[in-house]
């Protein structure tokens, strides 16, 4: 397999294979938290940070501990434990050292443990056999891609308040369809770079 440059991975994970729009990860919090632009900005930033850090830690744990000991089959449980522990740690750290940041980001941190995009990014990193630099680039860019998608959605939902939507389509239904159109728009970037 050819070596894929980290820059290609960054561009690809933000645009062509956006973790939300192409891999469908992190839908739950995407649906719930995209009501306001402020909220989605906070959550997006928290996701970028946690995803970058946890892919790096999980990379170390997988190749440093699990592979030498032949325990690869435990990866799911180890990854989710690492993510949960890291989020807990960051929450305590932020609460202790920066009250402002805690109020801006802290409330989103517990939500992130159950955000499947975080675990998904770690799993994709192993499945695609990225090296450390590639993993770091991937974790960061996947987070940015997710944040971009939720921000766009929050903007659209704000405008949606002025439209008359058929009763049955109100709520999640119309959001799904809009996301579909958004995914189609992002497919326009296809062919720019290819990582899979």
């Amino acid at each position: 397999m050819d070596y894929i440059s980290p820059w290609a991975i960054i561009v690809a994970s933000i645009f062509t294979s956006n973790i939300l729009l192409a891999n469908f990860l992190g839908m739950c919090s995407f649906l719930v938290c995209s009501k306001q632009i402020g909220t989605s900005l906070g959550l997006g930033a928290a996701v970028v940070f946690v995803m970058t850090a946890t892919t790096a830690i999980n990379y170390g744990v997988y190749y440093g501990l699990l592979v030498p000991m032949g325990l690869e089959f435990l990866w799911f449980i180890i990854f989710i434990a690492v993510i949960a522990a890291f989020v807990q740690f960051v929450e305590m750290f932020v609460e202790r050292f920066s009250q402002g940041l805690y109020h801006a980001l802290g409330i989103f941190l517990p939500l992130i443990t159950v955000n499947c995009a975080i675990l998904g990014a770690a799993l994709f990193m192993i499945i695609r056999r990225y090296d450390f630099i590639q993993s770091l680039a991937y974790g960061f860019a996947a987070g940015v891609g997710w944040a971009l998608a939720i921000l766009l959605m929050a903007g659209l939902r704000k405008k949606m308040g002025y439209s008359i939507i058929p009763k049955a389509f109100q709520g999640v239904s119309i959001i799904m369809i809009i996301t579909g159109i958004m995914a189609m728009a992002f497919m326009g970037f296809n062919g720019m770079v290819r990582i899979q």
Partner: protein
């Protein structure tokens, strides 16, 4: 996560938790269907449904995991301290997910490759966690198993419908049997790709809403009440 109290409130109001298995079963399959009503577990519902076969395997995985994890969490519900219940639940769920993943790898390697990370992502699938939190922690084992299986089946059912629609329109086949002849039907690539998944699910939820509203059921909640 705001939907958990809603789901729980609904089942207490209807007396589902106290009732026998049948009402629990019905609630999981239709009235509180995990995907179309509670809007949980969307990720995998979209990602693995480009073909009916994948959707069925994923549905089976979820029935297995929710059933087993509900059983064990319910058995241990008095032993698990409240403070660490989340991590205990995750550990139990992850055990069954690993089990299923290993079996899939051993006997059905191609499917394991196709599903990729989405089998592992069952751990973070809110349906499993939601049922453990909202039901298994408060109910005896037998009812919990029924609840787990019912929610798994409700999920599997919706997955199968999405999978069938997407495979039919995207490839013109159902379970790899040609249904729509290519002599007059041009397979619509969009249905296989991401946008098709979003749109099909959106329309499906709208249909559920319309049917439930048509019934005039007082308890029909709009799906947006998340």
């Amino acid at each position: 996560m705001s939907n958990l109290p809603v789901a729980c409130g609904a089942c207490q109001a209807g007396g589902v938790c106290q009732g026998k298995g049948l009402s629990t079963l019905k609630s999981g399959l239709w009235a509180n269907n995990p995907i179309s009503v509670q809007v949980l577990g969307i990720c995998s519902a979209l990602a693995v449904t480009s073909k009916l076969e994948n959707a069925l395997v994923m549905g089976a995985a979820l029935i297995f995991v929710t059933g087993c994890s509900n059983l064990f969490i319910s058995l241990l519900r008095k032993a698990i301290p409240r403070k660490i219940r989340m991590i205990a639940e995750v550990a139990i769920i992850a055990t069954f997910v690993i089990l299923f993943d290993q079996v899939l790898r051993a006997f059905y390697y191609d499917m394991s490759k196709t599903l990729g990370p989405y089998v592992g992502l069952i751990i973070t699938n809110c349906i499993v966690m939601g049922r453990a939190e909202a039901f298994a922690l408060q109910n005896p084992p037998i009812v919990s198993v029924v609840d787990g299986l019912a929610n798994g089946m409700g999920y599997a059912g919706v997955l199968a419908v999405i999978g069938a629609i997407r495979e039919l329109l995207g490839y013109g086949t159902i379970l790899d049997f040609a249904v729509l002849s290519t002599s007059w039907y041009v397979p619509n690539q969009v249905m296989i790709l991401a946008p098709g998944a979003f749109v099909v699910l959106g329309l499906l939820i709208a249909m559920f809403n319309a049917i439930n509203a048509g019934k005039g059921a007082a308890d029909a909640k709009p799906a947006g009440g998340h």
